[in-house]
Symmetry: C2
Subunit: 114 residues, 2 copies
DNA sequence: AAAAATACATAGACTGTCGATACATAGACA
DNA sequence: TGTCTATGTATCGACAGTCTATGTATTTTT
């Protein structure tokens, strides 16, 4: 198994949490921030990120603002109020799941709650 | 997002760890044990489990033994030595990933190492 | 001038899990 | 006797999410 198989189901939550932390980010910035924070352990590809962002937009979780930098455009994403709610919900669920998995792997131990 | 999306990439590791703990298990037993241990939070379906077990078998991670109970057959699975190695490897990787995700979600915190 | 980084995007393939379904035995209960 | 539930293995088709590969264009670095 490779890390790429593990990211499934967590990418959305990761993106939402980054947006929550930073206020607003653009796509390329997200890939770099994830790379930086994880010391290159998690690399988010464009082919994963942009479809995910577009879906978040379509679902009303984020809103966008296009900004021209020189002649190149950046599309900033930030959470809607619905997105804020979802962030909390999904994060809670993710942490609960991680805890449950830990239970299965280490019968007598629990991961610390964040 | 639902829990079912999160299980992706972790099912294999969960199965391997259960086999490591129990020595040998049969399919139905695995579904019930996961259900029991997680208070019903994680339900492994037949459509997920058996393909996974068959793949583990094909990959040489587990070996099987068929046992007749009454007139009904049970297929017990247990780890091969290769499977033991993989269990450790995958578990290490999974825990590392969980830790990395936690880093992304809680910038200043780390999950306890099990 | 060439290369690398920045910045967006999509198409197609892959793969893992799920829902539904199937078959059969066993035990409980009406 | 008939039916319901639990036990037990198994497969098929659908679906969704991620990846690889590719594309376009600008900006910065060498």
């Amino acid at each position: 198994m490779q890390t790429k198989d593990l990211i499934k189901g967590t990418l959305n939550t990761i993106i939402l949490n980054l947006l929550k932390e930073h206020g607003q980010m653009y796509g390329y910035e997200i890939t770099q921030e994830v790379k930086r924070k994880t010391d290159g352990k998690i690399l988010i590809r464009e082919g994963s990120l942009y479809p995910a962002l577009h879906k978040l937009l379509a679902d009303g979780m984020v809103m966008t603002e296009e900004v021209l930098v020189g002649r190149r455009s950046r599309i900033y994403y930030k959470l809607t109020s619905k997105g804020h709610e979802q962030t909390i919900e999904q994060t809670t669920e993710l942490l609960g799941f991680l805890d449950t998995v830990a239970l299965l792997i280490y019968p007598d131990k629990k991961l610390a709650n964040g």
